[in-house]
């Protein structure tokens, strides 16, 4: 194929991602002239509608931003409110929060990796084709996802948009017997997530690597999920409250979601790869061994291998959930008491797609005067465009249809949640 002339490739609605987005690519004389990852999911104005609401309402309101990762919002908002109100949630209540977050990682990671991302590597259009080719794999994935949902239901009251979480803890602690019922399924889930990680590790991955700025939480004692400080592989090590001093958001004309960047204006990466690269040393022995057996090193900078990292994290989440479930005793109280006061609080957790930052200011009655939420997909947008640029540059000779596929696959590496980012895809390629 000649490099002369113009090619315009458009993907008008990117499938197998959450929300509505598109990609416009213009190639002229073998060079990328323009590349835009457009998010046209309508803006949702959550931060504005929170103003004037009581502090206690923020977790349930913000959780409606996303049906896939409501825990990221329930806990991020709760944590920020607790920071503003001078309350600490520890002990068994903190364990319960980690348990339900493990459930969210399991259901979200398995849905994306097995049902939405795996078809890309098998040359298939969707998970239905996988089900016809390998029904056992799909049955296993669906059962695994259900176990994640079951954890959400036991701890959170229901699998979609849980209703049992609040500032200070829970409305009602789950009974010991219901949590114990999770133990046997979780033992099966550990084995099954290892099987899926090894199966996905056998895929052929496109040759692409990027020297990412990886940003994630880090906790001194465990692989960070629900709390910790913010670190990067470039030496950043700050408290969550320092997030606005080090990261910025900008509006770009082609996206309804703000683009995140470092204060120097550079793209950065959040999510499974960033966590894995920053916190590999804190994974369990079995998770590390599974990563190695699935072909991963101690760091991973090929974004296409994120599908394997997601399954390693799923395995770890199953192990953590099992550990917590086995030792669970019903707490004396389901929450710590909170009283309204004026102040500003910050919260940040590791949503399945990466860090999700919340900041709220309250008046003396505990009413919200200001709210800021920075979801992971908004933070990853600049990096997604940088990855796309790199992938297209390496594949300029590819036919348009194949290049479209590769670009969509590149975007799906991020499991982007466009609804969250707008608080996502149509692809167009133009060649001149």
């Amino acid at each position: 194929m000649t490099n002369k002339g113009s090619r315009k490739i458009k993907v008008d609605a990117i499938s197998r991602v959450e929300g509505e987005g598109a990609l416009d690519l213009h190639i002229q004389d073998g060079q990328i002239k323009d590349l835009k990852f457009r998010i046209f999911e309508p803006p949702r104005f959550f931060e504005a509608l929170l103003r004037g609401r009581d502090f206690s309402e923020a977790p349930d309101i913000t959780s409606r931003i996303c049906g896939i990762c409501p825990i990221a919002y329930l806990l991020g908002a709760s944590q920020a409110m607790e920071d503003a109100l001078g309350v600490t949630v520890s002990g068994p209540l903190r364990d319960l929060r980690r348990l339900i977050y493990c459930g969210e990682w399991i259901e979200s990671h398995v849905l994306h990796a097995a049902m939405l991302h795996a078809p890309d590597f098998l040359g298939l259009d969707d998970a239905l084709q996988i089900a016809k080719a390998n029904p056992q794999l799909v049955r296993k994935a669906l059962k695994l996802k259900k176990i994640g949902n079951d954890i959400l239901e036991v701890v959170g009251g229901r699998a979609v948009h849980p209703v049992n979480l609040k500032v200070g803890g829970f409305y009602k602690a789950p009974t010991k017997s219901r949590v114990q019922d999770l133990v046997e399924p979780l033992k099966w889930a550990i084995e099954s997530s290892r099987d899926l990680a090894l199966a996905f590790g056998g895929f052929e991955f496109p040759d692409f690597e990027y020297d990412y700025t990886c940003v994630s939480l880090r906790h001194p004692d465990e692989y960070a999920i629900q709390d910790g400080g913010i670190i990067s592989n470039r030496g950043l090590d700050i408290a969550v409250s320092g997030f606005p001093d080090h990261f910025l958001e900008e509006h770009v004309a082609h996206s309804n979601a703000l683009h995140g960047m470092t204060k120097e204006g550079a793209p950065y990466l959040v999510g499974p790869l960033a966590r894995y690269n920053n916190n590999f040393d804190q994974l369990s022995k079995l998770a590390k061994a599974t990563a190695k057996d699935a072909g991963l090193g101690k760091t991973c900078i090929n974004p296409f291998q994120s599908i394997v990292v997601r399954m390693v994290e799923t395995l770890y989440a199953c192990e953590e959930a099992l550990r917590i479930a086995k030792s669970y005793e019903e707490p004396d109280a389901s929450c710590v008491s909170v009283s309204p006061r004026s102040g500003t609080g910050h919260g940040c957790t590791e949503a399945p797609r990466g860090i999700c930052y919340h900041r709220y200011s309250l008046d003396g009655d505990g009413l919200i005067t200001n709210a800021t939420i920075v979801p992971p997909t908004a933070q990853n947008q600049k990096q997604i465009e940088a990855d796309l640029r790199g992938v297209v540059e390496r594949n300029l000779d590819m036919a348009d249809e194949k290049l479209k596929w590769r670009c969509e696959q590149t975007i799906r590496n991020y499991d982007p949640c466009i609804s969250c980012a707008t608080h996502f895809l149509k692809l167009s390629i133009k060649r001149d």
């Binding site: 896939i68 998970a127 029904p135």
Partner: protein, 149 residues
């Protein structure tokens, strides 16, 4: 021998214009003391819910280009559902995906009847279109006939 009472599931977002068609059907059935419920989760969950059921009747809004208010009835055990027929989320499995996935995995209920009501306006906060409101009454009558009510 009488047939078992079917699970009646209405799929859709009750606050998104004609996507609320199934919820309206469920509300009318309940008003006549017929057990039915609304489901707004993903198709994978739907598969889990119906896998051990003998009979399931499912109602969903369609977006196929047919005249608004058109009501269609499918017997999923006997026919493949047309793809891109129902409203669906891009991230999750919709009804058609769940049915075809369940078929591939041999997890369809013994009898699965699907009613599809063609919608026109799926805008957040919109009301049901008048044609869809009429189709809701027709759907209720058909379901009553299915269950011998």
């Amino acid at each position: 021998m009488t047939k078992p009472i079917p699970w009646i599931i209405g799929v859709g977002n009750a606050m998104r214009g004609d996507d609320a068609a199934a919820a309206a059907v469920v509300a009318r059935l309940r008003g006549d003391d017929i057990e039915a419920f609304v489901f707004d989760g993903d198709g994978a969950e739907l598969m889990e819910m119906w896998r051990n059921q003998c009979r399931v009747i499912l109602i969903d809004a369609a977006h196929s280009g047919a005249p608004v208010g058109t009501l269609r009835r499918f017997e999923a055990n006997k026919e493949v559902l047309p793809s891109h027929f129902f409203r669906h989320s891009s991230h999750q499995f919709g009804v058609a995906e769940a049915v075809e996935m369940a078929r591939a995995l041999d997890q369809l209920p013994g009898e699965l009847i699907i009613y599809a009501i063609e919608g026109a306006d799926f805008t957040l906060g919109a009301q049901l279109s008048p044609e869809v409101e009429l189709a809701v009454f027709d759907t209720v009558d058909h379901i009553k006939a299915d269950i011998g009510h």
